[in-house]
Structures are given as C-alpha cells and as structure tokens.
C-alpha cells in the first residue's frame, strides 16, 4: 500500500511543469535502481556507437577560452588577428554576435555548459539540436563530400565518418563572423575548417576534441584539449528564443 502511494506521488511529481522531470528511457541501472552512467556506451543496430542523448558541456571553460589547457605556442595568431582580438577584449567582448542573438558558430556551439544539446542519430544523418538559440546542425554520414564554393553560413556544412568508435565531423563553409570563444574573443575567417571528434567513452560521458584550421588567421592548425560532455538525465531541451523581448542591446559596451 505504501509502495503504491509512493508511486502515485512520484507520478504526480513527474506530470508537473514541462518535461524537465520526465524519466529518460533505456538508462542502464545498478542493482539498487540508480542510473549507471559508467556502463558501456550503447550501440546502434549497425554496430556503430550511439551518441544519442541530451548532453551538456562540463562548465564553460572552453566557451570562455577554446584553447584552455594548451601552451601559448600552440595557438599562433597572425598579427591582424592578434590586433582584432585585443580590440575585442578591450571592448569587453561587447561586439560578440552571440550577444546579438546570432549563432555561435562551430565548435563554440558545443561549449556553453549552461545549455544542453540533444544528439539524434540515424544511420545517414546525425542531427544536433541546441537549446541555446534553438538551432540545429545536420551532419551527413551518407558519403557526400563537402562542396566547393559554399554559401557561407554561421554553422557551416558538416559531413561525418566513423574512425573506430570516434565520429569525425568535418565542417567548412563557415562565414568567419562567429567568434571562437568569449573571454578570449578569438577570430576566424571564412577559410576556417573545423574537425570535431566525438567519442562516447561510457554511457554518461562524451569526449569532444576540435581542430581549428584557418590559415588566414592562425599560422598552424591547433587542436583543443579534451572537452567532456555529460549525459543529462530525465530532462529535455527547452525552447529558447533569444530575440523575444530582447532588452540588453542598448546596454552593451560600444567600441572605443
């Protein structure tokens, strides 16, 4: 009888609000019923790792500084870029397009640990839904190649392939307007090509590494240290409409 009451109480709790407390299906559990996030990563029917789930970056370290953990000599900016970076920092990154409700660009879009994203994986297409800015990316795994002469965009054009258990995503056709990070305000141009490597090391952990290759901005390609994303249980992405009732713009610092 008590068990029934507890179940009813739990049910009432779950139906309230939106789906912030709806239990995620298919979570491996320990014998006492707790989620076992160190269980093995799941696989799709075709044997490939299944990256599906609601994930969130661990904190905002890479959102503030994409080169976190690297040595200064690893990231070599060309002079024009260093100048621009300093201008942006002096202006307290007030010109950040992201603060004007424009998309983050790649790979910054993965890095903000305040907002989750959802990976939906099908055999020929991986879709990532981002709560921040309510955006999506399509990563095509059907063998198509990145076209030449791409119409530049904020989030680029992405193809993916499997390298063992790692999903390797190549992105180009970026418009060079997005910043690579926030506090460090690093620039890029439309020559930027990004390679992301996503590896689900266990049920609850995704490791992401990104290589920045932009010869117009950086003297050599550079690769981030490993960023961890953690599975978010019993929740879902919410609607986030940046330009609804937007009031901050008049308060943003303007360039000196």
């Amino acid at each position: 009888m008590i068990k029934l009451i507890l179940t009813l109480a739990a049910g009432a709790g779950m139906a309230s609000a939106q789906w912030l407390n709806y239990p995620t299906a298919g979570i491996p559990r320990t014998r006492d019923g707790k989620p076992n996030l160190s269980a093995a990563a799941p696989k799709m029917a075709d044997g490939k790792p299944d990256l599906s789930g609601v994930w969130m970056a661990d904190g905002q370290t890479y959102f503030f500084d994409l080169a976190a953990g690297l040595k200064p000599e690893d990231v070599v900016m060309l002079p024009w870029a260093k100048e621009l970076q300093q201008k942006r920092i002096d202006n307290e990154h007030g010109d950040d397009p992201l603060s004007r409700c424009l998309p983050h660009g790649v790979p910054r879009v993965n890095t903000n640990g305040l907002f989750p994203f959802k990976i939906v994986q099908t055999p020929g297409l991986v879709v990532i839904l981002y709560e921040q800015m309510n955006l999506f990316r399509q990563i095509f795994l059907d063998g198509r190649t990145l076209a030449k002469d791409l119409n530049p965009t904020w989030l680029g054009y992405s193809t993916g392939r499997w390298d063992g258990d790692t999903l390797v995503i190549e992105t180009s056709g970026l418009n060079g307007k997005a910043w690579l990070d926030t506090q460090k305000s690093r620039p890029a141009t439309d020559a930027l090509r990004v390679t992301e490597r996503f590896r689900r090391t266990n049920f609850g952990t995704l490791e992401v590494v990104a290589t920045i290759n932009d010869p117009k901005t950086y003297a050599k390609p550079w690769t981030t240290t490993t960023q961890k994303m953690f599975l978010q249980l019993d929740t879902d992405i919410l609607e986030f409409i940046c330009n609804e009732n937007e009031k901050d713009l008049p308060h943003m610092p303007v360039g000196k």
Binding site: A17, V127, N134, F140, D142, N243
Partner: protein
C-alpha cells in the same frame, strides 16, 4: 499589403547540397523521383513520415495569408478576436511576428513556404525548419502532455498512431500567436490537433484542428497539403542577421 516577402532572404542556388541526390528515394527507370510510389514504412510497420517537405503549392501554402481561406462561412470568432483581425489588417499587419524574426508557432510553420525536414525515429518525430534554422519535437514515447507547462511558441506535442494516421496533440502555447499573415489569433487556452497522413511517397496531408475557446466559439479545421522536395536540402536562414526591415514596418 503582404509583408512576408520583405523577410525572405534571396539565396542563390550555388553549389552546396542544393542539388545532391537524396539517398533512398524510389525512382522511375529514367532516374526521376517516383512520387507515386507507396509511402515507406518503418521497421515496426508504421508509415514513415521522414523526408524534406514543402507546400504542395510550391511557395507558401495559400492559407499562409489567410488561414480561413477554405473554411466555409469563415472562422467562428469570439467578437474580440474578429475585431483584432480587422485592426491588424487595417494596420498592414505590421506586428506580424514573422516580420520581427520571432517564431511562428506550429500551425503557421506548416503553411510557411520554406522546406522542412521530418525525421522519424522510435519515440520521436523531429521537424527541422529552414526558416530560422529551428526545430520542433513531437514525442511518440507515450508521455502525457505536461500540466502547467512553461508557455512556448511551439507548445508541447505528443503523438500516437491511429491506423496509418499520426495524431498529435499540442498545448502549452504562449498567448498572442498569429496563425497567418492576417493576424488570426491563437491564445494560451488553445489545444491544437494535427493528423498526418502520408498517402504515397510524395504526398503528405495534415489536418489541423484548433480548439481555442478564448478566441473561437467552437473548434475549426483546415487541411494542409505538402509534397516531397527531392534531391535538395535546407539552407541556413538566420532572420535576425543584418535585419533592416523593422524600422519600415510602421503600418498606416
């Protein structure tokens, strides 16, 4: 005056995946997409709604301008709602959320001219929209609609199969949505039901019923027809980038 062409971005068909052949499309012997082939099914035998869809009219659905276009006798407005539509039309629909880069909500998005990609997997029907590079989730995993949800432009949607039709219920809308360019209202009391039926490979029929007692004296329905857009894909569209129209949306 029809304002929505002002916010259309003229994108040229340069060489991204605008002309890449879509894998898995049934074709006739000469290689053309066979839109009359039977509708595909998923492994569990249900119709598969996946595909890139656009209005059958190729452009906006005619109901995008006036959702009551095909409703015999017009919409059963509450008096305040009829007055509101008149006032909005008189003011040249200057407050249409579309012209301010706001989300359009699920009903108006079915009528919008830009393509949308439906991706159906067990437990979820995902719709990706070219318009504003945004998405909508319809949960097919048996969860109930939330009670007392945080209101949203798209609300919250759950679906289940009724034979070969997918029936979707949505609630939790924020107040003040526009169902068309004319400014036909939807309030936060609304419950919207969609019935999706893919009757062959290339054709999708969506029956939409609006049950919104705050704005209408009884429920009313429309039908939307969409066709597959083969061998192409969505572009990125970021409405608020370099947005210059708003200062000109001044009404009369």
């Amino acid at each position: 005056m029809n304002l929505w062409p002002l916010v259309l971005l003229a994108t040229t068909a340069s060489a991204q995946w605008i002309n890449y052949p879509t894998p898995g499309i049934p074709r006739t012997p000469d290689g053309k997409p066979n839109l009359a082939a039977p509708a595909p099914r998923t492994a569990d035998g249900k119709p598969d709604l996946s595909g890139l869809w656009e209005p059958a009219a190729r452009g906006a659905d005619p109901q995008f301008t006036d959702i009551a276009k095909n409703v015999a006798g017009g919409l059963p407005f509450q008096p305040w709602a009829a007055d509101l539509v008149k006032a909005r039309r008189a003011d040249l629909n200057k407050d249409d959320p579309d012209g301010h880069c706001q989300p359009l909500g699920l009903v108006k998005m079915h009528l919008h001219p830009y393509p949308r990609k439906m991706i159906q997997i067990p437990g979820l029907l995902l719709i990706l929209f070219e318009r504003n590079t945004t998405y909508r989730q319809i949960f097919l995993d048996g969860r109930p609609l939330p009670e007392d949800p945080q209101p949203g432009f798209n609300g919250y949607s759950v679906g289940k199969w009724d034979g070969d039709a997918l029936v979707v219920e949505s609630t939790g809308f924020k107040d003040g949505l526009w169902l068309d360019i004319s400014g036909t209202p939807l309030t936060d009391a609304a419950k919207v039901t969609e019935r999706y039926r893919r009757w062959n490979f290339g054709n999708l029929e969506i029956d939409i019923t609006v049950d919104d007692p705050k704005a209408y004296t009884k429920p009313w329905s429309i039908q939307v027809n969409q066709t597959i857009a083969p061998d192409t894909d969505m572009l990125e569209f970021v409405c608020q980038e370099n947005e210059k129209d708003v200062p000109h949306l001044v009404g009369k």
